[in-house]
């Protein structure tokens, strides 16, 4: 068997199956393409079956799994495209370019739906920063997100970041892109029309990232440096030109289908487009504009050079498309034509190098998962000692809880004039256009919970993401996800894959949310350390009038402080339990009923009008949420709490919110109607200080003291 196939991790059986389907042995070029198309990264060999169990239908769904990005209807003729994707292994090797090209890749997925990319979010996971290598990776990744996003002119409006030892050698970089489009502008990737042309639009092809998909489908080697020739470099300046050229061509011309070039390069895009449309194609490799003249045919086909799109359109429209491209200074070459016969013919100067049925490339044999269950964590927790005021201050300094502005202040959050609410607290808010509807968007996942139980962790990731958009007054209407997991070839990794998908399924069903797509990144282990299962959830919440989202108007002193939802009764899985070494126990599943009631409450106009700010309890529980409200608004809070129990103050319930309200009674009445419990805790004050009276005594914190801890200046 040729080297290419073994290198890419095809098994003997897979190679045999390929020969059986072809009815002959394959040539070197065919093995090379197959190696990428049948890699885990492209073919979802381990996860495809399981992913089918996720709910995908919903009133707002216009495009779901299988499309380049999910599309949700926002009303008023507007829609939102969103997808999240990982770029973990490239970022481990070269953090800046790895993150930058991660953003570029996901941005082009959204562009391929016909949407204008409007925002990024970045979900990042690193090892603890006292390890210099982790600090280097974190710096590089954040610089890379800024480098690409700022220059390409798409704001980065949110994300999340956690530090956990399991990510030390295998950091995670998940990038989400959100775009907006009018209903009639939506495009698909299904090529069609015998004789139609394939137009390759974008950058000239170089020797970048060859074999990248295969690289993402194996465990990281200790010396990842040897994988260096595969590193891709993003050019956000060119990316910006590509956005404008693509959108203009889509606007002006009847483009039949479009997809971005990602894993598997030109071969991958052409194969997928043809397979979706049930057609074939002839691709002329000599027509591909090259950056380096000495590329071989397999290199031309498989190069993962960035900033390229493949379009299917009538040959008559090619000159007009090329004229648009020329104005923007991007390459546009006709590289092939569609054939009714569903085979992929690759030519070089008209000489046929290979002809093989499209489906052979596109339908990789699936692999079964080894049996096994996730290891159980011990269930006993020791009792908490009485809460001290230092507990809150210490908690605010923890890397997972402290101020995120040093990260997001290096990102352009505003470009595009769509950002109604910037990063800072919970979900960001975007408008599609002036006067148009908009969305609240967030990414979430909590490694602490996922380490205890992958399934519960996945459920809570969905719940947290839902809470974050609800906090903006938005109704969750769909989610996308990125499953970052260790090797599925080991029983524990296989169990984690099953568990996170089951967790998302449970949560999505309970909240009636469609899963509009996602991405699976397996083999996240390095030097024999597997990452904590990390199902990152990207949530979209609908806001018909985004300029009136909760949190847009400033909150004044004298507002009522309310607690909505049932208080915490357990410390299982909490930051507090970890900080105090109380042990690990499985937390309860999310209270989906309560989340639905909260959704109903913010949908009630009379309550919405009165709520000035809403912030959910997450890491750190009630006291941290209250401190965050004080830090975010600069206001003081003068409060009386009914309990001094650690579980009440620091427990992390799944459906609880702190609200600031202009009129407490109106909110309380609406809460009663919605079946949400509501407690009045006190008032906001002008002095900026947090004052909490509880049965065990009074705790007071000056704003400056909170701020110093939160900024880790202490």
């Amino acid at each position: 068997m040729p080297e290419a196939a073994t290198v890419a991790g095809l098994t003997r059986d897979e190679a045999k199956e390929a020969r059986r389907r072809a009815g002959r042995d394959l040539g070197a070029l065919e093995w090379a393409i197959l190696a990428v198309q049948w890699s885990e990264h492209c073919a979802y060999k381990h996860s495809k079956e399981l992913l089918r169990s996720l709910p995908k239908d919903g009133a707002h769904v216009m495009a779901g799994p299988g499309a380049s990005a999910g599309v949700l209807d926002l009303g008023d003729g507007w829609a939102c495209a969103a997808k999240i994707e990982s770029h973990n292994h490239p970022s481990a090797v070269e953090p800046l370019q790895g993150a930058a090209t991660g953003l570029g890749g996901i941005m082009r997925d959204v562009l391929a739906m016909g949407a204008r990319p409007a925002a990024f979010l970045d979900a990042l996971r690193f090892g603890p920063l006292d390890d210099p290598k982790s600090a280097f990776l974190a710096r590089g990744v954040v610089a890379g997100v800024g480098h690409y996003g700022n220059c390409v002119g798409v704001p980065t409006v949110g994300g999340d970041v956690y530090y956990h030892p399991s990510y030390q050698r295998n950091p995670l970089v998940n990038a989400m892109c959100v775009g907006f489009l009018r209903h009639g502008e939506m495009r698909s990737a299904a090529a069609a029309g015998d004789g139609n042309a394939f137009l390759l639009l974008g950058a000239a092809t170089g020797r970048d990232g060859i074999g990248g998909a295969a690289f993402a489908s194996v465990e990281l080697q200790a010396d990842a440096a040897q994988d260096r020739p595969r590193v891709q470099v993003g050019d956000p300046f060119y990316g910006k030109l590509l956005i404008e050229a693509t959108l203009e061509i889509l606007r002006e011309l009847p483009v039949v289908a479009i997809q971005d070039l990602g894993a598997g390069g030109l071969a991958g895009a052409a194969i997928e487009m043809c397979h979706q449309g049930g057609v074939g194609a002839e691709i002329e490799l000599a027509a591909v504009p090259l950056r380096a003249q000495d590329l071989t045919p397999p290199e031309i086909l498989l190069s993962e050079s960035q900033e390229r799109m493949l379009l299917c359109l009538s040959p008559q429209d090619i000159p007009a498309a090329q004229a648009v491209a020329k104005r923007y200074g991007v390459e546009a070459a006709q590289v092939g034509r569609i054939t009714a016969k569903p085979t992929m013919r690759f030519l070089y100067e008209s000489e046929c190098l290979s002809e093989l049925k499209t489906s052979i490339y596109a339908e990789a044999p699936l692999r079964s998962l080894p049996q096994g269950a996730a290891p159980k964590v011990a269930g006993a927790m020791s009792a908490a000692s009485p809460v001290a005021r230092e507990d809150l201050l210490r908690m605010l300094t923890l890397p997972d809880l402290c101020d995120r502005s040093p990260i997001y202040a290096t990102y352009d959050q505003d470009v595009g004039l769509r950002t109604v609410v910037r990063p800072g607290l919970d979900a960001a808010v975007l408008r599609a256009a002036p006067g148009a509807p908009g969305v609240a968007v967030t990414t979430d996942q909590n490694p602490r919970l996922c380490a205890i139980s992958a399934r519960l962790g996945a459920e809570h990731a969905v719940a947290e993401a839902a809470r974050n958009v609800i906090a903006r007054g938005a109704v969750p209407i769909g989610l996308t996800n990125c499953l970052n997991l260790p090797s599925p070839e080991h029983p524990a990794g296989a169990a984690a894959l099953r568990d996170v998908i089951e967790g998302i399924r449970q949560a999505a069903l309970a909240l009636s949310l469609p899963v509009t797509g996602g991405n699976v990144s397996l083999y996240n282990e390095a030097e024999a350390v597997a990452i904590v299962p990390t199902p990152v959830i990207g949530m979209i919440g609908l806001l018909p009038d985004p300029e009136r989202a909760i949190g847009v108007a400033p909150s004044p002193p004298g507002a009522a402080v309310l607690l909505l939802g049932d208080p915490g009764t357990s410390l299982a899985g909490s930051v507090y339990a970890e900080m105090k070494g109380l042990g690990e126990a499985e937390p309860a599943a999310p209270d989906y009923g309560a989340l639905r009631r909260m959704t109903a409450l913010i949908g009630d106009g009379s309550a919405r009008e009165e709520i000035l700010l809403l912030h959910d309890l997450a890491d750190g529980g009630l006291l941290v949420a209250l401190a965050e409200v004080a830090l975010h608004t600069g206001l003081g809070l003068d409060l009386r709490l009914e309990s001094s129990e650690a579980a009440f103050l620091f427990g992390e319930p799944s459906a609880q919110f702190v609200a600031l309200a202009s009129r407490a009674d109106a909110v309380a009445a609406a809460a009663t109607r919605a079946g949400v419990s509501c407690r009045e805790l006190g008032r906001t004050t002008a002095d900026g200080n947090l004052r909490i009276a509880a049965p065990a005594g009074v705790m007071e914190f000056a704003q400056s003291e909170l701020r110093k801890a939160w900024r880790r200046e202490a």
Partner: protein, 235 residues
Amino acid sequence: MRADILVFPGSNCDLDTEIALREALPGWQVERQWHDGAHLGESQFCVLPGGFAYGDYLRAGALAARSGAIAEVRRLIERGGLVLGICNGFQVLVEAGILPGAFQANTVQHFVCRDAHLRVERARSPFLADFAEGDVLTLPIAHQEGNYRLTADEYRRLKDEGRIAFTYCGPHGESGDEHNPNGSYAGVAGVLGAEGRVLGMMPHPERAAWPAVGRKDGLGILAAALAPRLEGGGH
């Protein structure tokens, strides 16, 4: 009356500027013009928007400053039209020699995006007509190379000529290094051309022309071109 926005490859605040100008200049014709073949003959007001023209490769603004469209900008200035360079547009005007000084990377060596406070240093320019000297504005900044360099002599000369438009300050107008986000000489955030009809500024007024969400301090700057103030300046 017509305002034009000059678009270079890599400009990325051009659409934003268009939205904001429509808000600030009701009734005006607002157009975006691609740099190649741009024509400002009918224009009273030209904005060079923010972004990364030509990727800001080599030096921020350097490549755009050599574009043919800059000759159109110079002609508009000669005719007495108004020119506003925002962020990258300011860098382009400086690289083109239309405004003095030079830019370096922020002293913090990374991109900075946040609200900044600006003190209005001078009110004798159409761009500042809505303000009084000493007014404090809140405008977002978003840049990597906003460290505006002047020599001490140049600074004094500009100051004497009343050409310092804005300096970075605290929320109450107080000066100090802690309020200077990028290391700019003397905290200068915006400078005027000799007649006060050219303004270059790093902060983004077009991002603060959105009253519905409480961002509005940029409107006055963008409204500089409102008809009455153009008297004698047009052609």
